[in-house]
C-alpha cells in the first residue's frame, strides 16, 4: 500500500491540506471570543483548544457553561460529541497503519477535517500526507486563532453588546447544517430541539442538551430493531 508520490500529487495534497487548515483555523477566533464571553478565562480557553482540539466539543462545553450549566454537564456534552472521532479513527486506522508513539501522536489530530482529507486518498503514503498536513495545519492555526480570539474577547467589554451570545447559536447551527442531509437526521434534529426546550424549565441548565442526546440513542436503537434506513 505504501507508494511514492510524484511531486505534483504531493504538492497538491499539501496545498489542499494547508488550505483547509487556514479556513478551519481562522474560525478558532470565534471559538476564542465566545469562550471568554461564556466566562472562561483566556488560559482555560487556550487549554481547551490545545487539549481537547475538536471544535464542536469545545463549543459545546463553553455553550453549556454560558447558559449557566454545571461544568460536569458541559464536560459530558463535549465527550458525547467527541464520540464521532472514535468512528473516524476506526476508518483511519487501517489506512494510516501507524503504531506506537506515532499512533498516539496522530490520535490527537483525528478530527473532521483531517479525516475528510485522508480517507479519499488512493494509498497509504498519500493518506498519511493528507492527514498529517491537514491535521497539523489546523492544530497550529486553530490554537493561534483561539489565543487571538480570547485576547480580543477579553478586552472588548460586555460580550452581549457585540452579540457574541447569539454567535454561539450561529456556530452550532453552522456545524449542524451539513448533517441535515437526510429526512431521518432532520426529524431527529427537530425532536431533539423540542425535547431540549421542553426540559429547560424542568431541569438544571446543561441537562436539557444531554436529555436530547437520548433522542439520538432511542432513534438509533429503534432503527436497529426495525431495520428502518434513511
Amino acid at each position: 500500500m505504501t507508494g511514492t508520490l510524484d511531486p505534483a500529487e504531493r504538492s497538491g495534497i499539501v496545498r489542499d491540506g494547508v488550505g483547509v487548515g487556514i479556513a478551519t483555523g481562522v474560525y478558532g477566533t470565534s471559538f476564542g471570543a465566545v469562550s471568554v464571553a461564556a466566562g472562561l478565562d483566556a488560559w482555560q480557553t487556550c487549554a481547551l483548544s490545545l487539549l481537547m482540539f475538536t471544535g464542536a466539543s469545545q463549543f459545546a462545553l463553553v455553550g453549556v457553561l454560558a447558559s449557566g450549566g454545571a461544568p460536569l454537564s458541559g464536560a459530558l456534552t463535549a465527550l458525547l460529541l467527541g464520540t464521532r472521532n472514535t468512528l473516524y479513527g476506526l476508518r483511519l486506522a487501517p489506512l494510516l497503519g501507524w503504531t506506537g508513539w506515532r499512533r498516539a501522536a496522530a490520535a490527537h489530530l483525528v478530527i473532521d477535517e483531517s479525516t475528510a482529507m485522508s480517507v479519499t486518498r488512493r494509498d497509504r503514503t498519500a493518506a498519511r500526507l493528507g492527514f498529517g498536513v491537514t491535521g497539523g495545519s489546523v492544530f497550529v492555526l486553530w490554537n493561534l486563532a483561539t489565543l487571538v480570539g480570547a485576547v480580543a474577547g477579553s478586552v472588548i467589554g460586555d460580550p452581549r453588546d457585540y452579540g457574541l451570545d447569539a454567535a454561539v447559536g450561529g456556530a452550532f447551527l453552522a456545524l449542524l447544517w451539513p448533517r441535515l442531509d437526510t429526512t431521518r437526521n432532520r426529524v431527529v434534529a427537530v425532536a431533539a430541539a423540542a425535547v431540549a426546550l421542553g426540559a429547560v424549565p424542568l431541569t438544571a441548565a446543561g441537562v436539557p442538551v444531554l436529555v436530547a442526546g437520548g433522542v439520538a440513542l432511542l432513534v438509533g436503537a429503534l432503527g436497529a430493531r426495525t431495520q428502518v434506513e434513511r
Partner: protein, 101 residues
C-alpha cells in the same frame, strides 16, 4: 467540578476517544446500530444546543435578539456563506437589534 477540572478531564477524555478509534479492532465498534447512533448523536446534541443557546435564560424560555441572530444564520447558511461569516453575521444582527431596541 470546577471549570478547570471540566476542561482538563473532558480534554483528556476526547483524546482517549480519538485514540480508541485508532487502536481497537474495527469489528468491536463497526456495527450498523453503533454507526447509526454515532451519526445521530452530533445531530441531536447540536440541534439541542442551538435551541437552548438562543432561547433559554436560566430556566425560562425567552425570545430576544439571539433569535434574530439565529434567523440571520439561517439566511446566511441558505446562501452558502462560510462558517466565519455565519458566526459573526449572527453576532452582528443580534448586536444591531440590541443597539436599536
Amino acid at each position: 467540578m470546577s471549570v478547570w477540572a471540566a476542561v482538563v478531564l473532558a480534554g483528556l477524555g476526547c483524546y482517549l476517544l480519538k485514540l480508541a478509534g485508532l487502536s481497537v479492532p474495527a469489528r468491536v465498534l463497526d456495527r450498523p446500530a453503533v454507526a447509526r447512533v454515532a451519526d445521530l448523536i452530533p445531530v441531536a446534541l447540536l440541534s439541542a444546543l442551538v435551541a437552548v443557546q438562543v432561547t433559554a435564560d436560566g430556566q425560562a424560555l425567552v425570545a430576544d435578539a439571539r433569535l434574530l441572530g439565529l434567523g440571520a444564520a439561517v439566511v446566511l447558511l441558505l446562501l452558502r456563506a462560510p462558517f466565519l461569516v455565519v458566526v459573526f453575521g449572527s453576532a452582528l444582527v443580534a448586536a444591531l437589534a440590541r443597539l436599536l431596541a
